[in-house]
Symmetry: C2
Subunit: 365 residues, 2 copies
């Protein structure tokens, strides 16, 4: 075979173009593409390409002296086999991908670490990326990880239509959704009991005498935000309390929007006497707003937050176990990969009400 | 060329083995390797492999009718070009890697997000991984990312010897270290002024009348921990205060170890009257310990922490700008990649003392 002729790899549809051709369309100042090639190693060692290939791939038919010369050339040039090619050959990598929603949200810290620990226990590398709550970025990232031949994906979805993953699922990429379910495809998902947890938290406020209770949550298109709002409505309905529109505010969780929402609910002739916050980002802002109020306002937050117990009053929360979510999802992923799990399921993990003071304050008027 | 014969790719040293051979050593129940191949597309469309290759690679010489048939087969089978192979051909991917130390440490949240935002602005994908403070895992992860052909790496190193990266640097992989410097190689690094920040924080305690000041930090082999200890020693020396061994405790930052260290310093006939904590993980535990003390103990912590201003007293900290560290490192990485930055530098970003009450408490006796 002529080294300079392109060859097709029938598996990938790529044309593997030997170095002599490829080099011609690369600008000389390009820093990226100047890795040493097998050809460079062969030239330096004074042997043929086939000999270098035999040494690199550990095949027989090379004298010790020649092997030593090739190895010296490899070391001197810093030549390294490219694992991308090994992936093509073996059909799998020992790696899984994790698509996060926000790299800076502390909720995802223990979740990511738990996924990593399970991956590690299975000898697999974890690579992450973040969608930043953008469905297009989620898709771009998930497909980019598939293109890099991850064996499986744990996805915290930003979007609600995952049909783009169907070719990957058919091709055998294991997939588990966590925190939020998949849309329009049949896939494993591991969720917290968002609705039940919020219902418990709001019922707790009602049990402490509150009737005018506000709900501040994330954008309604986000599954967890919508479910927690449903839990709030359910608890109010259970208690026979008609909910006023002014008591509910859903939107982005940036501090300015949340602060404004809380201040509106707390003003006027009949302000709320308690607030249920829909996630940790909302809670930290509402804590600040409540600290400035002239009278105490009760608070129960969804998600635990660091140092919540040391504030005055301590913050009562509906805690979900972020590490358990990540661990459960990752374990299901590896059970898919080893073939012991074939039917997609939806798993809900329980939440836990932790009382610390803020949720037990009585109505101020 | 016979489709079933292995071919060498001279660039990578890999043997590209066509599907017919590869399939034989794969168990039928293996879910990983059953992606549709170009051969499957060719069979379904009733055309030759070369024709499929032309369509996939956008080459001329295919009639519209044939192209339509091939495209239908591609859609029906879910065939997708494998980007790993495209990487081999083009010599670069639009992606950078970030090697973190701990996925669950909130300090790395804003840092990661800043790196991601810069990558995004350059049209590149960010993929992360964590070393979990293990030098071997750092190396494994960094090299695995290089093998997946990232253009550059931002590394928060766990180890102190980075000669393993030399072949990658020679091959043109851009590299910036952040938070901690590289060891034994000449590389860009972006650090906080750890020593100066700690010195300022301890000097602040001394200015409020303290002389018996404890230091609790992370493991001494970690650059930031060692530098902050140097800052503590420098401030004490500036004030002419001899430091007692019992006042310094370095080790893992798990709550049990830190709690014990704090309790020891606070007991006995001459306890410390103030503590300087070496990072955010240490600070949150020491806050708990101090909340249980019968008398007030002053505290200044390195790193800001969420809700620090709402505690009683508010927590005085030496804040570093995690987002600025990430942004500066990522921007340098892309300047390396576009060729406008060639000489490695060590950049130190300033820290900021934020007074909130805990660091201004006078000595209790």
């Amino acid at each position: 075979m002529d080294d300079a002729s392109p060859v097709d790899d029938d598996r990938t549809g790529q044309r593997i173009v030997p170095e002599t051709i490829r080099r011609s369309d690369r600008a000389p100042e390009n820093r990226y593409g100047n890795r040493p090639t097998m050809k460079d190693v062969a030239a330096r060692a004074g042997v043929g390409l086939k000999t270098v290939s035999r040494v690199v791939n550990g095949e027989p038919g090379v004298t010790p002296e020649t092997e030593r010369r090739v190895q010296e050339a490899i070391d001197a040039l810093g030549f390294r086999r490219n694992d991308s090619a090994r992936v093509l050959r073996k059909g799998r990598t020992a790696s899984i991908g994790l698509v996060l929603e926000d790299l800076a949200d502390p909720f995802y810290g223990p979740l990511s670490r738990a996924v990593e620990e399970v991956a590690r226990a299975h000898g697999a590398l974890l690579i992450n990326g973040s969608s930043a709550e953008d469905p297009d970025r989620e898709q771009e990232l998930a497909l980019a990880l598939c293109a890099r031949r991850v064996d499986g994906l744990v996805i915290i979805p930003a979007g609600d239509d995952h049909r783009y993953l169907e070719p990957e699922l058919k091709a055998g990429v294991a997939t588990v959704f966590v925190d939020r379910p998949a849309g329009n495809i049949d896939a494993d998902c591991v969720l917290a009991d968002n609705r039940g947890g919020a219902r418990d938290g709001v019922a707790h406020l009602i049990a402490h005498g509150h009737r005018r209770i506000g709900f501040i949550g994330d954008m309604p298109r986000i599954h967890t935000a919508a479910e927690r709002l449903r839990g709030y409505r359910a608890a109010m309905e259970d208690a026979g309390i008609p909910v006023e529109d002014a008591w509910m505010s859903l939107g982005v969780t940036d501090p300015e929007r949340v602060r404004r929402a809380a201040e509106v609910m707390l003003s006027g002739p009949s302000p709320v006497t308690a607030i249920f916050t829909g996630n940790n980002r909302v809670t930290v802002t509402v804590i600040r707003v409540l600290a400035e109020q002239p009278r105490p306002v009760a608070l129960v937050g969804f998600d635990d937050i660091e140092l919540a117990d040391l504030l005055q009053p301590g913050v009562t929360v509906v805690a979900q176990d972020a590490a358990a979510l990540g661990r459960t999802a990752a374990e299901r992923l590896f059970r898919q990969l080893d073939g012991t799990l074939v039917t997609p399921e939806r798993i809900e993990l329980p939440t836990r009400l932790i009382t610390r003071g803020s949720g037990e304050l009585p109505p101020a008027h």
